[in-house]
Symmetry: C2
Subunit: 416 residues, 2 copies
Amino acid sequence: MARPVQAPDRPTLEGAGGIFSLIATGSAVSRAELLAASGLSRATVTQRLNALLASGLVRETEETLPSGGRPTRVLAINATSGFLLVANVGETHIHLAAMDLTPAILSQTTLPISVASGPDATLKQIGEAFAALAAGAEKTHGFLLGIGLSLPTPVDFKRGCVVGPSVLPGWDEFDIIGRLNVGFSVPVYVENDVNLMTICEHKRRVPTVEDMLFVKVGTGIGSGMIAGGRLFRGAQGAAGDIGHIQFLSDDAPLCRCGKFGCVEARAAGWAIARDLSSRGFRAETARDVLDLVEQRKPEALMLLRAAGRTVGEVISDVVSIINPSLIVVGGTLARGGDLLLSGIRELVYQRCLPLATRNLSIELSTIRDDSALYGAAHLMLDDIFAPTKTGELLARYGAAAASTHPQAPTRATTGT
Amino acid sequence: MARPVQAPDRPTLEGAGGIFSLIATGSAVSRAELLAASGLSRATVTQRLNALLASGLVRETEETLPSGGRPTRVLAINATSGFLLVANVGETHIHLAAMDLTPAILSQTTLPISVASGPDATLKQIGEAFAALAAGAEKTHGFLLGIGLSLPTPVDFKRGCVVGPSVLPGWDEFDIIGRLNVGFSVPVYVENDVNLMTICEHKRRVPTVEDMLFVKVGTGIGSGMIAGGRLFRGAQGAAGDIGHIQFLSDDAPLCRCGKFGCVEARAAGWAIARDLSSRGFRAETARDVLDLVEQRKPEALMLLRAAGRTVGEVISDVVSIINPSLIVVGGTLARGGDLLLSGIRELVYQRCLPLATRNLSIELSTIRDDSALYGAAHLMLDDIFAPTKTGELLARYGAAAASTHPQAPTRATTGT
DNA sequence: CATGTTATGTCTATCTTTATACAAAATGAC
DNA sequence: GTCATTTTGTATAAAGATAGACATAACATG
């Protein structure tokens, strides 16, 4: 009955997933908290934590929290024990980065994109840039743990593909995961950019808020929702698509979607640029509009404020429907200061029932160009470090740790 | 070190919560499925299941599922091992029932309600009626497990109280749970009636649908949402409040909320009744409108169809925002056949992007007057039988079972 | 009625986890 | 410096859970 006993003295990583997940998600920062949060016994927690510390995945920070007695030693995921590759595909450029587990950007590149070149060529470009970034990151940050792709279109997150026609011709239903897995054998996550900005906003600024709405007002208009603390995607991943809600009127302008009176056609960057152009200004994108606003041109200020009221009209509908406790307004036009915001506030407080606005705050985003990248990283880390999934992850690290010993070669345990 | 060993031969219910929950929620119907779903070993499952069977909480049905070999014995919660008390407070009547764990109605009563009498008097009435129902149910159905209250107003489910002014004067912030706990020491659940109808519709008809919308078109208009398989309540429990979304126009009618142009003021039962009255018909409630529709009065038919288009306008907004895969239309006016539905469909398919309507179906509710009661029962059972909560429940049953033996008295292990 | 097939109960040695107690460590308050 | 206080590690016996083999049960099929 001699079974091949494997390294009986080395503590095993098996079963440490729960502990690891608690640390990774920030649910527990100290051993004492781990005890309480995991429900396991002191001895078990100590044993598993030691395995994690030995593997290098978790480290003890220098930071301590005063507690009246012996201070708490703060535990944290070792940010250098792995890295992620993320890419944000925009309409003109692709922003790529390698990120550690903080998450923070380790290195980044920008590629020009020819929208017309289609998914296959574009993903090839991305794959090559990823390979270069990975080569640098691997030297100091161990394994590649996942790949994230941010796209400016509706995405079916579960299947990992674009759904419906969009600004990216040829991407509809294209097998992105399959294409990227050719070069990398790690999980690939694909998500809509506004959803990722929503996650970034939520995770980094107001992680305790349960129900919030993020509205992006840029060249186009879109939104993302956190419902019950989690991103809400809807049946096809099209939830939050508020840009093409219609308000009919006699002068309803034609939208780029082919309908009349959409919110976008009234208040998006391209619509304001259109109106400014007809008044003799030179404007095409949201950026141009913002420039004119910053020059304090009265027409631009007026149109931005009016756009705020239009967006406020839709947002008031959204507030009635999902009853958030926080609305964050971001995107290029949100940098125009409080003009957009005041228009939004005006309509929301006018239209919604007091119950819904009683505890509602409406704020400007702390804008960052790379919020989609951070959002993607958070999304990935949450999934990679989910309690049910840490098993295979730790198996990989365990295998790697073993291979540093003069032992059997390792093999990835993940399927497909 | 002699510790008081308690009945070493009798299997313990401790730890059986997970098993019980799997059976109660229908996640596993046989021993084989329990094995797979729980991840526990065969011996452990057998032991715990035996404890549950011995306690009478779970029973083996006569039903078997063919499997090619020895057929699967189907397990089920013993519907007679406990009961619930539920009450649906309407604007004119209160419908009360004792329900078993199927859930099915065991016995029921109806009380008239004087809206003006306030929460204290009304809850006293309800408490007395509950006591009578409980007396009957206790003879055959063991313990009372929980109390559910359905109210026609926005409710903060977590705190268990009405929020905001409503058709029930004096109920705002009233401590309902505290009041009902005077007579009964079981968990009390308070929820909005439309949310409960949504749960009923979801659980009984389409339990696998992840994202759906239920719209009630009766004397008023409201909606409930299932997002990611769970009821979505929003920050204050006011999610789904679509009745007072405004559509401005020159002839915007005055709403009972004080604003102009609300959906309710255009399409609710009371609004149609108002329009019919001005055309010489005698109508006041949704019921009256339905009568005229069933008499095929052209004016009533026309107005109902127009109402459908108005409701369709809001619903199209909701579809853009939350992207459900199913919309169920219920309420009194939904009994008017396809008239309302066709108006809704017309607008939704006209207004929404193809992506959102591609897999969307819009159906009539299988109407039942008591769907709020059933919804309340499902809501309660899901919570009472949640894996984390079955521990104390089983402790109670264990105590009851022990006290029937001539043994040492048992003591509840739960705190407070 | 024999056979194949799947479901279910039970046994045993082995491994995990727990409870509990005790000891050591690291700080602030005095 | 001493003391109270809280965090953290470890040792021990007892309880709990597992794997995996085996036996039995209950049906469909031919």
